[in-house]
Amino acid sequence: MTAAAPSQSSPSWRKGIIAYLMVAPPLLLMILLIFIPALQSTARTLTIDVNGAPGFSISRYTAFFQDPISVSNLFFTFQVTLITLAAIFILCFPLAIYLRFANGKLAGAVQVLALFPLFVPGIILAYALIRFLGTRGTLDNVLSIIGFTGYRTPYLKPDAIIFGLVWESIPFTVLVLTAGLRQISDSLIESARDVGANSWQIFWRIILPQIARPVLIVFSLNFLGIFGSYTIPYLLGPAAPQMMGVFMQQTFGQYRRPDDAETQAVITFIICAFIGFLYVRTVANQRKREDSE
């Protein structure tokens, strides 16, 4: 913690005001562009015009949940999010454990490849994946040269969305998990091994509890990222069902129905509220612990 040096010339309250003035612009911007839109949208979706006066109503929500297309899009978004999250953990956990305990050139090369997607923007990835996964794309091509001709492209199917979203999430997930694993000392694991623990027990009893926080951060941020994604599902996914991002943009941009788009947005807020809270709380706790160390 840094303590501001007491200044002789100006009393502390004056310094406090200067500090508040300095932090005010970004705070105001955040309030104006995040909190007010979110709150206002929520309020508006619960309001109905009753003879010129505003009245409370949940009619916009009942309309959403009575519309089969809206419900199937919401359900689809959930499905893609959960499958993608599972795939991310299944892939990235072993990678992170490997990178934590392995040294040398091979591990270095694996790390470079795992982090490479950080340097490929989403829009370029979408284009590249169409060329890679599409009919007569690279994968199809290579497989047919080996003699496998039954390739059926995942392009414009949910699988392509999941592939793209996992691809994008690998670097961040591996980075955070590996950093968390580095907090566990070698001696702790060695002593567990000395008393006869096997790899599985070491993973469940020692590694997992120690990296609960990084796992929560990765889980929550990936959940929010996938649930709020647009580019990959729009360019790689099916026309129906759609993920919520694509659905909202279509409602807002194409059909010009901002009120309905707003309802869809607020529904994603409500679903993600707990996850967002989990993310903020976990990062806040993590920083507090780092500060006190």
Partner: protein
């Protein structure tokens, strides 16, 4: 194989082969996971980029050849002769630079205050910027767009700048705050003791020490903003078209594959700068700072 050959003493080459085979086997046993991970990652991560790079330099590429039949650059000229691309590229660069500059002007004084001044709620306000990550992003954009719609900010440059500023706040505040906190105060105090003015101390002592972090924050903000497509899409269309937004239509409605490939390669240039500086950015923890970790 003839009996004569079998009877002959094994040539030294075979001994060498046996040795390498054995060492290859132990290598697989020892590094099995690493090798499998390396091969799979190389296929999945680099595979999609393969055809993008080749398509950009292909004159003619017909299925099922693995490489183009005719290489050439004629499509580069045609790509940049397109009015939409010639207009969007410089506009995107200027826009990203503008957003970065505004973000710096707003956030850097705040980060100095967060790091160096004492005021009530300092920690809480600093953590509140995590809220920028705690919403499903596309839902938030729709919510902002609904407000902008009523304020007539849709399709305007100020609208796009505002929505893109949201994404820059966390990075532009947290990285510099950590840097200002990390400055060794004794040097500053020594300079003050020998009579240097506070301004001079700041410019000649504090600033050089935080410069690496500040330049990282500026660079990352610029690159992230340059690639920001979703906010610009929701708020900017139909009048404001940035390069990444143009990519959506190049992907969706272009029969000529080369346009998308060439634009992808050109668009990738800023990421290449990050890739070159990757080690430094990674060591400073800057690459994950945008996620709050």
């Amino acid at each position: 194989m003839s009996a004569q050959q079998l009877a002959a003493p094994p040539p030294p080459v075979e001994g060498f082969w046996l040795g390498t085979r054995r060492s290859f086997q132990t290598m697989i046993r020892k590094n099995g996971f690493g090798l499998i991970a390396l091969v799979l990652l190389a296929l999945v991560i680099l595979g999609p980029l393969y055809s993008v790079v080749l398509w950009a330099f292909a004159e003619r590429w017909q299925y099922p050849s693995l490489i183009p039949q005719v290489f050439g650059l004629s499509f580069w000229e045609r790509t940049f002769a397109r009015a939409d691309i010639a207009e969007a590229l410089p506009f995107s660069i200027v826009l990203a630079a503008t957003v970065t500059l505004i973000s710096a002007v707003i956030c850097l004084p705040a980060s100095y205050a967060f790091a160096r001044m004492k005021f009530r709620g300092r920690q809480l306000l600093l953590l509140s910027f995590l809220a920028t990550n705690a919403f499903p992003r596309f839902g938030l954009y729709i919510s902002i767009a609904v407000i902008f719609f009523r304020l007539n900010l849709i399709g305007t440059i100020p609208g796009v700048i505002l929505i893109q500023l949201v994404n820059t706040l966390l990075l532009m505040i947290w990285i510099p705050t950590a840097a200002f906190q990390g400055v060794d105060r004794s040097l500053e105090e020594a300079a003050l003791d020998v009579g240097a003015s506070p301004l001079r101390v700041f410019v000649q002592i504090t600033l050089p020490m935080v410069m690496p972090a500040l330049s990282a924050a500026l660079l990352l903000t610029f690159v992230n903003t340059f690639y920001e497509a979703q906010g610009a899409l929701v708020v900017g269309l139909p009048r404001i078209v940035t390069m990444p937004v143009l990519m959506y239509s190049l992907i969706n409605s272009q029969l000529i594959v080369q346009y998308g490939a060439i634009v992808s390669l050109v668009l990738w240039a800023p990421s290449l700068i990050l890739l070159i500086l990757a080690q430094r950015l990674l060591r400073g923890g800057y690459l994950t700072a945008g996620f709050g970790v």
